[in-house]
Subunit: 242 residues, 2 copies
C-alpha cells in the first residue's frame, strides 16, 4: 500500500491562534487515491526540528507533504529546512524569479524575490490551473499553509501521484453503546481482518449512540463487513446504514 505523512508547520497552530484546516482535506484527497496517510506531525517554525522531521518522515513514507512556512519573512524556514534535510544548498529559481518580476513589476522588492528560493535539485510542479510552481524535493511536496492555496494544490498532487484503487467507506449508526455492542463488533472484526473497522461513540444528540465505520480497498468486502455487523444487532438497534 502506498503511504504518506504530513508535516504541518507553524507557531500559529501550536499557540492556538488558528486551527489547522489542511490535514482533513489532504487526508480525504489521499483516500481517493488509495494512499494511506499514516502520520501527521505539527511543529514550530524551527529549522532544525523541521529538517529532522523531513528526513525521518520522507524516508519512512512514499510521500511527505509539508504545509506552511514558505513565505519571505523570518518565520518562513521550510525551504531552508528541506534543503538542510537533504544536504542541498538553497538557490534562486530563474523561472520563479521571472514570474515574480512579471507579477510585481515596479513594486518588486528584494523581499518578494525570496519567494523564488528553492532547494538545489528540487523540481517545480505546475499545471494550467496552478501556474505558480509547487516545489517538490525528492518525495517531499512543499505546500503553503494558507488553506485556500493548500486546497488548490490538491488536483496537482492527484495528477502526479495517480489514482490506485480508492478506499471505500461505509457506516452503521446504532442506538447501542460501545460496551453493549462490543461482542457483536468483535465477531465482525475477527471475521474481516482485511477491513479497517472503527467505533465512534456520540456524546451529544439523540439520533444514535455509536457510529461504526468499515473501510477498505475492496468494495464488496467492505460492504459485506458492514452488512454482517448490521445483521448481528438486535431488532431496532440500527438507526441507519451508509
Amino acid at each position: 500500500m502506498r503511504t504518506a505523512a504530513a508535516l504541518i508547520i507553524g507557531n500559529e497552530l501550536l499557540t492556538g491562534k488558528i486551527a489547522d484546516a489542511n490535514v482533513l482535506v489532504l487526508a480525504r484527497a489521499l483516500r481517493l487515491l488509495g494512499v494511506q496517510l499514516k502520520r501527521v506531525v505539527m511543529v514550530l517554525d524551527d529549522i532544525d526540528v523541521i529538517a529532522q522531521e523531513v528526513r525521518a518522515l520522507s524516508s519512512s513514507h512514499d510521500w511527505l507533504f509539508t504545509s506552511g512556512g514558505v513565505g519571505p519573512t523570518h518565520d518562513d524556514v521550510t525551504i531552508d529546512a528541506v534543503a538542510l534535510a537533504f544536504g542541498a544548498k538553497v538557490i534562486s529559481s530563474a523561472p520563479m524569479e521571472q514570474m515574480l518580476r512579471d507579477a510585481y513589476g515596479d513594486k518588486l522588492t528584494e523581499g518578494h524575490l525570496l519567494m523564488a528560493r528553492i532547494p538545489e535539485g528540487a523540481r517545480l510542479a505546475s499545471n494550467a490551473k496552478m501556474p505558480w510552481p509547487t516545489v517538490v524535493m525528492k518525495n517531499v511536496w512543499v505546500l503553503p499553509g494558507v488553506p485556500e492555496i493548500f486546497q488548490a494544490k490538491l488536483p496537482l498532487i492527484r495528477d502526479e501521484l495517480g489514482a490506485d484503487q480508492p478506499f471505500v467507506s461505509h457506516a452503521v449508526f446504532t442506538t447501542l453503546d460501545e460496551g453493549t455492542l462490543k461482542p457483536m463488533l468483535d465477531s465482525v472484526v475477527a471475521a474481516h481482518p482485511d477491513i479497517e473497522i472503527g467505533s465512534y461513540p456520540r456524546w451529544s444528540g439523540l439520533e444514535y449512540r455509536t457510529k461504526l465505520t468499515f473501510d477498505g480497498l475492496d468494495p464488496a468486502r467492505v460492504q459485506a463487513a458492514r452488512d454482517a455487523f448490521a445483521a448481528s444487532l438486535p431488532e431496532g438497534a440500527v438507526v441507519r446504514v451508509e
Copy 2:
C-alpha cells in the same frame, strides 16, 4: 519554560472522516498557563506506534497529553499503549469499576467494565465537576477524543499544572504584503529577540493583507515590539492594532 506535547490518536482523523478539534483548545489552555506546546503527533490506532510516541514525547517534554482511543472497543488501544510505553501491566481500577457498576446497574456488560482498565501505577485525577477520573501515568495525561469531553477536562489540567505567567499576544494588521514589509519586520525581529513574531498573509478578503503577531511572557516587551513595528510602517499602512 515548561513544555508539552500532544499525541492525537485515531484512524478517523488520518482517513479524513473528521477534523481534529482538540489541538486548538489544548493549545489555548496551555498558553494561559505559560506552557509551550512544542509538538503534536497524529497517529493511527496502532499500539506499537502509540507506545513508541508516548515514550519519546513524554521523555522530551514536561507533559504529554494524549487524545483518543480510550473506549472499550478493539480500536481503543491507548491504555495498553501507555502501559507498554512504561513497561507496566494493565489492571482494572477498583474505584472505576465501582463507578461503572453504579452507573450501568443491571445493564452492565463485560464491555463496560473494560473502561476501568488503567496502566498499573497510574493515578486517577478528578474534581467535583468531573467525577469520572482521568488517567495520569507519570507525566502523561490520557484524555478522551470526543471534543466535548476533552474540553471538559481542561479545567482539571489547569488546576493540576498551575498557572505560571501566561503568554501575552498582540497583533498588527497591515495593508502591506510580506515582501514589502519585510525590511521593517526584520528590524523589529532583530531588536526584540525575546518576542516571538509571526507574519500571516491573508489570501482572501480586503480588510488587510498581512497580520503580524507578537507573543511573549512579558506584557510590556510584547507591547513594545508591536508598537515599534506599527510605528515603522508608512502612513496609512496600519489597518488595526490589537
